[in-house]
Amino acid sequence: MSVLIFIDQAEGHIRKASLEALSYGAKVAAQLGTSAEGIVLGTVTEDLPALGKYGVKKIHQVSNEILNHFDAQVFANVIAQAVTGTGATVVIFSNNVDGKAIAPRVSARLKAGLVSGAVALPDTSNGFVVKKNVFSGKAFAKIALSTPVKIISLNPNSYKIETGEGNAEVVAFNATVDAPKVKVTAVNKVTGEVPLSEAEVVVSGGRGLKGPENWGMIEDLAHVLGAATACSRPVADVHWRPHHEHVGQTGLAIAPNLYIAIGISGAIQHLAGVNRSKVIVVINKDPEAPFFKAADYGIVGDAFEVVPKLIEAAKKLKGVA
C-alpha cells in the first residue's frame, strides 16, 4: 500500500505540473497513513533526490533509452508494471497532455477507477471521493472510487506546491519496455515563449483588437509580466493568431493565477476555457460586456489607450525600463 506519483519529464526536465502532483500525492499518502513514491521514466538531468522536498521518500526510475520519448502505449505498460511491482494502491498523474494519454490506459489495463481532472484532495471520511471539474469548469462532480487501485489525474494549477525537507532515495525499477509502434518524425516546439498550459499569468486578446498588427502591445504586456499569450476563437479562426493560442470550450482550457482578457466579450464558450483562473481582469470598452460578470478586476475603456499605460505601470513594478 503506497501512493505512486508519475513524474513527467521532457528532455530531462521535470515539468512543473509534476511538482504539483508530487505535493498532492504526498498529502494523499499522509491522509492514508502510507508513503508517497515517485516513478520516472527515461533519463533525467535534474537532481532527482532533491524531489524529496515535495514529500516523496523513494523514486523508482526506469532508465531505458526508449523512454526518453513519450509514447502512450509504452509508458502505460511500464507504469502498470510499476504499480503492481510496488504494490501501490493510489496512482497520481498530472492531467496534462501526457497524463491524459496514459492515465486512461493504465486505468483500463489494471481495471483501476480513474478520476481525471481532479481539483482537490480526496475525501476519505466515507470511502474515497474525489472532486473533479465537469461542464468545462461550470461545475464540479464528486466521484467515488471503490476499486482496489485508484487513479487520480490532477488538473494543472489546482494544487499549491508545498515543500519541506529531505531527499528521496532513487532506485532502479526493472520493467519490460516494448518498442513503440508510433514513430515520431518531427517535433516543433514553440521556443522562447511560456507554454500556455503551464503559465501562471496569461494575457489574451479578442476581436476587439481589430487586427493582427495590433498584437504588439499584447506581447509586450505578456513579456513584462512573464506571461503566455492567448486569444479567443474567432481570432484564431481568421488566423490573426496561431491555433494553439485559442482558449475556450473548443480550444485549450487553462487555469492560471491571473488571466487578463483584452477586447474579448466573454461569451460562455470562451469562459468555459478560462473560468478556473484564480483572478480574472477584463479590459473592454463596453461596460455591458458579459465578461465583467466573471471578472475580479476590470477597466471599462479603449484597449488602445489603456494597455500602453498598463505596460508602463507593469514595467515600473517589475523594475524594467
Binding site: V97, G113, K183, D296
Partner: protein, 247 residues
C-alpha cells in the same frame, strides 16, 4: 478500410448548468442536446473527408446511449457515414463506455477508431485511451492533423508547448481536436439521406463500472468586479500586486 467514429451527446454549449435530486442529477429540463463539438467538427468531419477521397472506405458511427441519443446520432449521419450503431446503455463511467465501444470495434475489425478530445460535459478525455488499451492499439491523442497513405497514418499531435509529427501503421486509435477539419453544416440531401441509413441497436456487454458520481456542486459565485478608472491602469497594477498578489 473501416473507420469507427465515436459520437457522444452533450448539452448545448450555452445550456444552463443546474442540478436536481439533492444535487445528484443534471437538470435536463429545457436543455438542448448537441453532438459533442470535438466529435462532430473534428473526428467525424475528418473521417468524412477521408471517405470522400477514397469512397471504398466504410465509415461507421457508434454511440453508447439510451434511445434519447438517437436524434443526435441521426444528426451525425446527416453529415456523413454509412451506418450507425447505438449501444443501448446509459452510463457516465468512462471504463464502462470504453468497454462497450471496444467490443463493437473488435467485432467490426475497424482499422481506425476516432474519438473527440473530450466530452464538454464530463471532461474525461479518457475514453479514447481506454479503448486503445482494451484493443491493445497504439494511441495518438490530441491530433490536429491526420492523413492516410495506404496503411500508414501520418498524424500531427499536440505536445506540451508544441507539436509533433508521427507515423503509425493501422490499426490505431486517435483522439481529435481543432485543426483536424473545418466545421460543416449538414445539407438537405444529407438530412434526407440520414433517415434511411441503417441505425443498429445492440445490447451492452456486461461490464462492471469503476466509478460512480456521488453528487455535483456549483462553484461559489464571484464577489463581483472591482472597476478601476480607465485613466489609471497603475492602480490596477497595484491591486494585482498588493491585493490579489498575482504579479
Amino acid at each position: 478500410m473501416k473507420i469507427l467514429v465515436c459520437i457522444s451527446k452533450t448539452p448545448d454549449t450555452t445550456a444552463k448548468i443546474a442540478f436536481t435530486d439533492n444535487n445528484t442529477k443534471f437538470a435536463q429540463d429545457g436543455v438542448q442536446w448537441i453532438i459533442n463539438p470535438y466529435d462532430e467538427w473534428y473526428a467525424l468531419v475528418r473521417a468524412i473527408e477521408l471517405k470522400e477521397k477514397d469512397p471504398s472506405i466504410v465509415l461507421h458511427l457508434v454511440t453508447v446511449g439510451a434511445a434519447d441519443a438517437e436524434p443526435i446520432i441521426r444528426k451525425a449521419l446527416a453529415l456523413g457515414g454509412d451506418e450507425a450503431i447505438r449501444i443501448n446503455a446509459d452510463s457516465h463511467d468512462s471504463f464502462y463506455i470504453a468497454s462497450q465501444i471496444a467490443e463493437v470495434a473488435r467485432q467490426g475489425a475497424y482499422d481506425l477508431v476516432f474519438t473527440g478530445k473530450e466530452t464538454i460535459d464530463y471532461n474525461g478525455s479518457s475514453i479514447g485511451g481506454m479503448v486503445a488499451e482494451l484493443l491493445d492499439l497504439p494511441y495518438v491523442s490530441l491530433a490536429i492533423k491526420f492523413d492516410l497513405n495506404g496503411n500508414t497514418a501520418t498524424i500531427t499531435r499536440e505536445i506540451e508547448g508544441g507539436e509533433e509529427v508521427c507515423e503509425v501503421q493501422l490499426p490505431v486509435a486517435v483522439s481529435c481536436q481543432k485543426g483536424m477539419a473545418e466545421q460543416r453544416i449538414p445539407n438537405m440531401k444529407g438530412i434526407m439521406g440520414a433517415r434511411t441509413k441503417p441505425l443498429k441497436v445492440v445490447e451492452p456487454v456486461p461490464v462492471e463500472a469503476l466509478t460512480s458520481i456521488v453528487g455535483f456542486e456549483l462553484p461559489p459565485a464571484k464577489a463581483g468586479v472591482k472597476l478601476v478608472p480607465a485613466d489609471n491602469p497603475a492602480e490596477l497594477v497595484r491591486l494585482l500586486h498588493e491585493e490579489a498578489k498575482v504579479i
